[in-house]
């Protein structure tokens, strides 16, 4: 092995090593933090649901729809006190004229999707943000969520 080859091996080895190390750290962090992040969001969804429908829902486990949908959004199974139908809380990023805000939608099995509330907002602002997006982005997500669940049920 010539000196030139040794030098190439050293340089490429170190460079690839750094990149592999970075992605290994990222991969491990993502794996280990996944449950904690999901539980954090579950708590926030519970608070929002409790404020809108006191003592009706308890949030269960995360529900998997598809890799594409679940990587950007989150879906949680809900347990209703009357236990008559399956219901889900869907958290999506809604683009409003005030920027992007995560919001909670409620889907019931008989094709009823309704907007519950925004996350990351206080009570005073929620009314403004909702009223300006009600017929645009919120309506779009209501239809989109209904379509996704309808396709799953087919």
């Amino acid at each position: 092995m010539t000196d030139q080859t040794k030098k190439y091996l050293f340089n490429y080895g170190i460079f690839s090593g750094i990149i592999v190390f970075m992605f290994a750290v990222l991969f491990l962090l993502t794996i280990f933090s996944r449950n904690a992040i999901s539980n954090n969001l579950k708590k926030e969804v519970s608070i929002v649901l409790e404020n809108s429908f006191p003592n009706v829902y308890s949030v269960k486990d995360e529900y998997f729809i598809s890799n594409h949908f679940n990587s950007l959004n989150k879906v949680y199974e809900l347990e209703n006190i009357d236990m008559k139908k399956e219901e889900y809380a869907v958290v999506v990023n809604v683009a409003t004229i005030y920027g992007q805000f995560p919001a909670v939608f409620l889907y019931s099995q008989n094709d009823e999707t309704q907007f519950v509330n925004f996350l990351c907002l206080d009570d005073e602002r929620e009314v403004d943000y909702f009223s300006i997006s009600e017929n645009s982005s919120i309506l779009h997500w209501i239809n989109y969520i209904s379509n996704i669940f309808n396709e799953l049920e087919k």
Binding site: F15, I37, E44, G99, E124
Partner: protein, 199 residues
């Protein structure tokens, strides 16, 4: 060089701040991210230049930015998952605009110390503009100051939101564009005045 590029830097930070939701804390996060990227990437790039010779070294910068932003996003999500979900896209946008700034800007100096020192004024300028812009927008648009609480955002209300009607326009993206135009105009006037003073 700093003076010559000042408007360019301010325009770049304002372009990132416009789609960000209204709130001081968002500005703080962006300023923090910018400083973390700069002060970690400059020494790392210096070491790579000194010890490693590979033809595709340029590919390291975007990968490193994705790494740092992903870690930051995970840490933010552990604190508040909804906030992490909200700010994720903005952080990636900022990282790539930072990459353009870094590529266009020649980091001067031969030693690590001089390289870092040459970047300090730009980091200060970037941070000050981001924080002041977010604060101004927060006060005008929300009549409040947004801080981080234990498990999410916390609002300190200065006035009731109905004190001055239609002020929530400044919390919106068109409102942010108007504020950014005003900020750029003020900096342009200051720069013009300084140029006249120098002559």
């Amino acid at each position: 060089m700093v003076k010559k590029n000042a408007l360019f830097y301010i325009a770049s930070i304002l372009a990132i701040l416009i789609p960000v939701p209204c709130g001081l804390f968002y500005g703080l996060i962006l300023a923090f991210t910018f400083n973390v990227l700069y002060f970690s990437f400059v020494p790392l790039n210096f070491l790579l230049d000194k010890y490693i010779e590979v033809p595709f070294k340029w590919a390291f910068a975007p990968l490193y930015f994705v790494f740092i932003i992903s870690i930051e996003k995970i840490l933010i999500s552990l604190w508040s998952a909804s906030f992490g979900m909200q700010i994720e896209l903005i952080l990636y946008v900022q990282a790539f605009s930072f990459y353009i700034i870094y590529v266009l800007n020649n980091v001067s100096g031969y030693t690590l110390k001089s390289k870092i020192q040459s970047q300090i004024p730009q980091c200060i300028l970037y941070s000050v503009v981001a924080i002041l812009f977010s604060l101004l927008r927060d006060i005008l648009g929300h009549m409040a100051i947004t801080f981080a609480g234990f498990s999410g955002l916390h609002y300190i209300h200065l006035f009731s939101i109905n004190t001055v009607p239609l002020m929530n326009f400044f919390a919106s993206i068109p409102g942010a564009t108007v504020i950014s135009a005003c900020v750029l105009f003020v900096f342009f006037l200051v720069e013009k005045k300084q140029e006249l003073g120098d002559e």
